[in-house]
């Protein structure tokens, strides 16, 4: 049964007491209410110890009530959904929530690693770097394992995330970060002006400080003003309010990143829903009303559970009706801290004392103290007595030197407020120092962005409202909307007076960065060791480098650095601010781009037919291509592929080659254009003919190859490799638009418009006659090798027919509009049945091209020249073309280059593997005598042995030479013979037949 909520206040708060929720923390069951965070529910149950610190394993409690929390990190949920380093202060309570504390063993209360505190001297600033100066053996044996075990945060789930994440775009005129008084006022003004508004609030409830601080706006209690304002905004169709959404980054051109925690407040997302959604929001203007963060004061024992930010304490009291302590002391250096005293007294809690570091306290608060019967001590907190059960006693150094002690079970601390300058500083804007509030305020915000209210250093409620309203109206106006904004909401400003105080000298550890366990003495040490630049300080001490990015620690760290180095705080400066403002799960950035939807999938026109045939598919780029078509009884892929090759060479087969890039080139200068992009000439190609072409990059290296046909005087049909289809189109458009604008030529990508099949084998013509209109002449005279023209099919469909051969057999490629691709495959099977037609996949295609010595991807590898591929003679000397000059460079025409050659093992039974290195026979393999490598291999059914192609130094001059194949990766060494790369039908009689 759940324990009693011993620290729940009897009344008040924005919690639903009718909705009780059970949850577990470290295995113990508690209860809370709807509207609680995990932190507020723990507080309501009197739990003070929630975690152990990073290095020293010190007991830690809850410090804040927001996303800046450095201490109260937990592992939320269990199993595959376990999420480490979740802030208890922002985790919404739900029925059945399970959380566990982190970085402790065997338990939170008895953590053996807390002995680290005894070794504290070795964990000082830069300790990690210093260990590198110790003997290597010591590092490996003792130090590294010890650090790994001792230091750390939560544990990752260790298994795949079962949830889905989404990515979405949104567009608006005015984007607003924060729904406090400034953000709501900005939304009112912008919305009334007619602008499209998006307001992002990271909390699950709108209102910001209005939910905790009370006050009066337009003569109404804030709660009433808030509900009236939200109703007005909800009625505006162009105002979109997004709760549980944190604006985390600012990118170029008015693009913002936001993370929406869609279903993090539930045990698991409902079916078909995502856990989180990553938003990219494009906004003309942005108003940052992200508020300010209260900052701690650094004093000994300031990390004792029960020490809490003053504003957080009043938030827990006022918003959650949960009492962090029953007898509270306040340590403040400013007027605002006193509001916690008012809240605590209002809730019937006891005030032990107020320790105020200022010389004077306002008359109003002085009288509050006398009425409340608690002392006001002028001075500072110099130490805290207590431990894992929380604060017991507070040591005070009084102004003038005397000492005092205060008994309390909670200490509220206010060191002033730091505007949230993250978003405004992400374009390298450097915040500027304002003496009156002793804080950095935004400066140099990205274009279109402005900060308002507390985020701009103006903390008063009245100032927040008027500044927010003005910023919202101006943003709408700048975005072109000039509707009547009406009048700004009005409220009084609270008094604000502050005497800067960053660090109180004292005995014991005084923490600056709670999450990374960086103390004031670490900063002093870093300064003594010469790390005076803030960027060095940060990296040497790791100050501000934890998951909270130093939201509560950075400014105090700078202030201490400034003090020890004798400079002012603005002279010391800030480090560079970088997004994200809060940690964002990698899963959210990936969105649906994981597993089978990692990238788009392209299916060939005959895909579904091939799947029906039981084809095995292979991923080639985005494409799924049929790799082979296994038949019952075949024991492995090799048996299937061998059968397919033999069927083609002995009869007829077909293969879907639609993945090739296809480009229609139209225009009077189409031929001249092709002459400039290919090394060979196309302007003299006869209409009705096809030609193999090779393109270079401008640096002289081969870019792509393919056949291009001339279908009409001013119309060529160009094909590219599958891999380069998009890139060649881009390259050709560059040539056309940027380099050769004088040519009358147009390019149209038609890759997706045509389904293309290769039909190959001695019975190809027999099969084609069944498909093609009988009036078409397919004889060797009527349609000779390298012929290309449009033909009619039986039934009237127009097709493009090309007599080209990749397999070396008598072959055609036929293109039909893509919508007929499926029907074409089925018809080829039907019409080809009498001839034993066999569909073949990319493996058989590859086998036949290797047997034929045709180069492909492994040879067109970005390092080879046309001559390397044995195609040097194609390089025209009569014209300029892309890459011509650079291809003539000395190293690219050197006689000892590695060139394409055939390779076969001397032992016919031996398997050849691609990647094996070629070493001269009789030499010991090494980088000095490495003469190339095997690029492509296959088992050749035709030659009944493994064969391959390779790039080998002077390969063509060494035909017949036996060399050594060295394959250290697979531990193989064997002899191979260099041979003519055209293993099959070297004079080409079959393809011309």
């Amino acid at each position: 049964m759940a324990g009693a909520q011993t620290h729940r206040l009897d009344k008040g708060g924005l919690i639903d007491r009718s909705a009780s929720l059970n949850f577990r923390f470290d295995g113990k069951t508690f209860s809370g209410f709807q509207g609680d965070t995990l932190a507020s529910a723990l507080i309501a149950n009197g739990v003070k110890l929630v975690g152990r610190s990073f290095k020293y394993h010190r007991p830690r409690g809850i410090l804040t009530s927001g996303s800046e929390e450095p201490n109260a990190l937990v592992e939320l949920r269990t199993g595959a959904r376990r999420e480490p380093n979740t802030k208890a202060t922002t985790a919404e309570l739900y029925e059945g929530l399970e959380a566990a504390s982190q970085n402790r063993w065997p338990s939170l209360r008895h953590d053996v690693m807390s002995v680290n505190q005894l070794f504290a001297p070795i964990f000082v600033a830069g300790f990690y770097y210093k260990t590198f100066m110790w003997p290597a053996k010591f590092w490996e044996a003792i130090y590294e394992p010890a650090i790994r075990r001792a230091a750390g945060l939560g544990r990752a789930a260790g298994v795949a995330d079962p949830d889905h994440y989404d990515k979405a775009w949104a567009h608006c005129d005015v984007l607003i970060a924060g729904s406090g008084p400034a953000g709501l006022a900005a939304a009112l003004a912008a919305g009334r002006s007619g602008a499209r508004v998006i307001l992002c609030e990271e909390d699950f409830t709108l209102g910001g400080r209005l939910l905790s601080d009370g006050g009066t706006i337009d003569g109404l209690p804030v709660a009433e003003w808030l509900s009236r304002t939200l109703a007005e905004l909800a009625a505006m169709p162009d105002v979109r309010i997004m709760t549980r959404t944190t604006l985390f980054g600012v990118y170029d051109g008015g693009t913002y990143g936001a993370i929406e925690r869609v279903n993090d407040h539930l045990p698991s997302p409902p079916e078909h829903q995502v856990r989180q959604r990553l938003w990219r929001i494009v906004a003309r203007r942005c108003v940052v009303a992200a508020g300010a963060l209260e900052r701690p004061i650094v004093f000994a024992g300031n990390d004792t559970p029960g020490v809490m930010m003053a504003s957080a304490m009043r938030t827990y009291i006022a918003r959650y009706a949960a009492a962090p302590a029953k007898r509270i002391a306040l340590f403040t250096n400013n007027e605002d801290g006193w509001r916690t005293v008012e809240a605590a007294l209002g809730a019937g809690l006891q005030i032990a004392a107020v320790i105020d570091a200022r010389p004077d306290v306002s008359a109003a608060y002085r009288s509050l103290a006398s009425k409340g019967g608690f002392p006001v001590l002028h001075g500072s907190v110099s130490g805290v007595e207590g431990g894992k059960d929380g604060v017991r006693k507070i040591a005070v150094s009084l102004t003038g030197g005397a000492r005092a002690e205060v008994e309390a079970d909670g200490l509220a601390v206010s060191g002033g407020w730091n505007p949230a300058v993250g978003l405004t500083s992400y374009h390298r804007g450097r915040p500027k120092w304002r003496d009156d509030i002793a804080a950095f305020v935004p400066d140099g915000a990205p274009p279109g962005m402005v900060a308002a209210g507390a985020a701009n250093g103006d903390f008063g409620l009245g100032a927040c409202l008027s500044q927010g309203f003005a910023a919202g109206a101006a943003a709408a106006h700048d975005a072109g909307h000039n509707g009547k904004a009406g009048t700004a909401p009005v409220a009084d400003d609270e008094a604000f007076s502050l005497t800067p105080l960053w660090h109180v000298a004292g005995k014991g550890k005084a923490f600056v960065d709670y999450q990374h366990d960086v103390t004031a003495s670490d900063i002093e040490l870093a300064q003594r060791e010469g790390f005076e630049s803030v960027e060095h300080l940060k990296r040497y001490t790791t100050l501000g480098m934890a998951t909270d990015q130093g939201k509560t620690s950075n400014v105090a760290g700078l202030a201490i650095m400034a003090a020890v180095s004798g400079r002012s705080i603005p002279e010391t400066g800030t480090t560079i601010y970088r997004p994200p403002y809060v940690p964002v799960a990698i899963g959210a950035f990936a969105g649906h781009h994981r597993d089978e939807t990692f990238h788009a999938t392209r299916l060939t026109p005959s895909h579904h037919w091939a799947a029906e045939q039981g084809a095995v598919f292979v991923d080639t780029g985005l494409w799924k291509r049929a790799q082979w078509y296994p038949r019952a009884g075949e024991k492995d892929w090799l048996e299937s592929v061998t059968r397919e090759v033999k069927a083609v060479r002995g009869g007829v087969g077909f293969c879907d080659v639609s993945t090739l890039g296809k480009i229609d080139v139209h225009g009077r200068d189409a031929g001249a254009f092709l002459d400039r992009v290919y090394i060979n000439t196309f302007s003299n190609l006869a209409v009705g003919k096809a030609r193999y072409g090779l393109m270079l990059r401008e640096d002289g290296i081969v870019y792509d190859d393919g056949t291009t046909s001339r279908l009409a005087e001013d119309h060529y049909f160009l094909t590219t490799t599958t891999a380069k289809a998009g890139l060649v189109m881009q390259h050709l458009e560059f040539c056309r638009q940027v380099l050769f604008p004088e040519l009358d030529v147009q390019l149209t990508s038609v890759s997706d418009q045509w389904a293309q099949f290769s039909i190959a084998g001695p019975k190809t013509r027999d099969l084609l006659k069944e498909i093609v209109d009988p009036a078409e002449d397919l004889s060797n005279e009527g349609f000779p090798f390298m012929g290309a023209r449009e033909v009619a099919l039986r039934g009237g469909i127009k097709a493009r027919l090309f007599r080209i051969s990749f397999s070396g057999e008598m072959a055609f490629e036929i293109s039909v509009p893509a919508r007929f691709g499926d029907a074409m495959a089925r018809n080829l099977m039907l019409a080809g049945a009498p001839f034993g037609v066999t569909p073949y996949g990319t493996e058989a295609l590859g086998v036949m091209r290797v047997e034929k010595g045709h180069v492909a991807g492994p040879e067109l590898n970005g390092t080879t020249t046309a001559a390397d591929l044995g195609l040097g003679k194609m390089m025209s000397t009569k014209k300029d073309y892309i890459g011509r000059v650079m291809a003539g460079r000395e190293a690219l025409v050197a006689p000892d280059r590695q060139v394409v050659v055939g390779i076969k093992p001397t032992d016919k039974a031996r398997r050849l593997r691609s990647g094996a290195h070629i070493i001269p026979k009789g030499q010991i393999p090494g980088p000095g005598n490495d003469q190339g490598y095997v690029t492509s291999v296959c088992f050749s059914p035709t030659l009944d042995q493994w064969i391959g192609l390779g790039l080998v130094e002077r390969g063509r001059e060494r035909i017949g030479e036996v060399v050594h194949a060295h394959d250290p990766l697979r531990g193989e060494d064997y002899d191979v013979e260099l041979c003519n790369p055209v293993f099959y039908d070297p004079d080409g009689g079959r393809q011309r037949g």
């Binding site: 775009w169 990118y251 170029d252 051109g253 008015g254 693009t255 990219r280 494009v282 374009h427 274009p447 401008e698 640096d699 998009g726 189109m729 881009q730 458009e733 560059f734 638009q737 940027v738 380099l739 050769f740 604008p741 004088e742 014209k879 300029d880 000059v885 650079m886 003539g888 460079r889």
Partner: protein, 91 residues
């Protein structure tokens, strides 16, 4: 980052592909190896105003010449790159 395509309007970065410096002009046919070498390889690494080629492959397939400041990422103009790299006889 967003680019205002002169044909399609303002579009998101993902629709575009970056190529590089739009300053070099392709040497005329018959140019020396040194001239072509400079064209192919030599680029300034500018901190400040540059002009560069972007391809609107996710849209109209136009090659664009974008004037951008590498320090601020501010884009000051976008125009079609028509003939921007064309050899200029006598240049």
């Amino acid at each position: 980052m967003r680019i205002v395509c002169p044909f399609c309007g303002e579009r998101e970065l993902g629709e575009f592909t970056y190529l590089g410096d739009a300053k070099p002009v392709r040497p005329v046919a018959g140019a020396s190896e040194d001239e072509v070498f400079d064209y192919v390889y030599l680029r300034d690494n500018v901190a400040g105003a540059t002009s560069e080629y972007w391809y609107h492959g996710g849209g109209c397939r136009a090659w664009l010449k974008v004037a951008r400041n590498t320090l601020t990422h501010e884009i000051s103009s976008v125009e079609p790159a028509l003939g921007a790299g064309a050899a200029r006889v006598g240049a």
